[in-house]
Amino acid sequence: MADAHAPAKNPFHGRSVVSADDFGRDDVLYLLDAARAFERHGLPAAHPPHAEPQRGRVLGLLFFEPSTRTRLSFESAMLRLGGSCLGFADAKMSSTVKGETLADTIRVTASYCDAVVLRHPMEGAARLAAQVAGIPVINGGDGSNQHPTQTFLDLYTIRKATGRLDGLKIGFMGDLRYGRTVHSLASMLLHFDVELRFVGPESLRLPEELRETIRRAGRLGAEVQTLEDVGPVDVLYVTRIQKERFPDPLDYEKVKSAYRIDRAAVDRFGPALKILHPLPRVNEVDPDVDTHPGALYFEQARNGVTVRMALLDRIFSGAGP
């Protein structure tokens, strides 16, 4: 692809993946290149076919909060690498209900695995886990804070579809204030030569810290309240506006239809537009957008397996390239 880079050394070897902020441009590009090797005909697959590069490894899936796609895509990734998974998908299944601390749960379960994926409702849970586990910890979402593998797969999807990460105009629409996928992706994109544009209701504007960081980096394009005003974008990243963010349900009703895209809305950007959404969608992307050639959200979900295969493989594999 267009990016010239490729560090020779594997920056993920034995490393925890807690926050997208812990990784720089070269790390990301290394991972995205590695992920390409785990894709055959657009589908996640080990290379060569039927190879099991991580046979005998065990991945712990410690999900203290419900998750379908993150948990299943990690499981799929590990199984496709020839490894196995164990864990729980509900805090009620863990010793937490007996009053065990998170740190102790992590210490114990870590002794059964080679790495763990943790999803937890408390922000910072993955950082704490990484301190005590003694094995790599992958953050599968810590409250409203970070979900770094989502960011990696978003970047992979954008690069795969456009052939590059530099030189893009990327629009974000929806919940800019609380959407952790928006925050992580926007922060990570600052490592690239991009222009970021934002569409959302006044009450769900970007957090001031992040907005200031983007502005200082010279990457802040438009900040508007309607999609018509956003100007040209190569990529539109849509997120769900959650009802619980609004103290007054009437306010939610007002914005929910305003931040919904249909085929007519996206057609105005031309056929080259790429549309991403971290899913699940509720009503913010009309199903008639699904046939748009740039509607990438289901492929984005599939890329989650590819990118997580690459990440697990690089974590478990040697420090070489």
Binding site: A103, M122, E123, G124, R127, L128, D142, E209
Partner: protein, 143 residues
């Protein structure tokens, strides 16, 4: 009129150039008075600051962690360590780049408010600093 400088310390610590209104907070942070006579000056004239607060403690030498806590109260707070009636050492306090176990995270859903783990905050920018929680990544003013 008795000026603060009339109380000569023989052995102890002077915390000088505290912003006006922070002397009581400084006493709280240091758990004073836990020993020795403590002299507090509030809204004292200062050549550098116009007005300042000052705390003097007989017989007390502050620990690093206590200095780190004090540093959060203002910019360029000065600590004089006095021995034999003379200033033996003068330290201009600076907030360290990383604060361990000093601040409490204001985010109620931060893991540090639920597990027994020392908080870790990284200093950001120039004074007035902001502090980023290493765990939940929220940025706070730290006051």
């Amino acid at each position: 009129v008795t000026r603060p400088n009339d109380f000569r310390l023989q052995q102890g610590t002077v915390v000088d150039h505290l912003p006006v209104g922070t002397a009581v907070r400084a006493l709280e942070l240091l758990g004073l008075p836990r020993q020795g006579p403590v002299t507090v000056g509030i809204n004292v004239p200062s050549a550098r600051m116009g007005r300042k607060d000052i705390v003097r403690v007989e017989g007390l030498v502050l620990r690093k962690e206590e200095l780190d806590r004090l540093a959060l109260l203002g910019n360029q707070i000065t600590v004089n360590i006095v021995r034999g009636g003379e200033v033996a050492q003068k330290v201009v306090l600076e907030v360290p780049p990383r604060l361990v176990g000093i601040l409490r995270c204001p985010n109620p859903t931060c893991v540090t408010n639920h597990e027994r783990v020392p908080t870790i905050f990284d200093r950001q920018g120039a004074y007035p600093h902001r502090f980023k929680c290493l765990f939940c990544e929220r940025v706070t003013a730290g006051s």
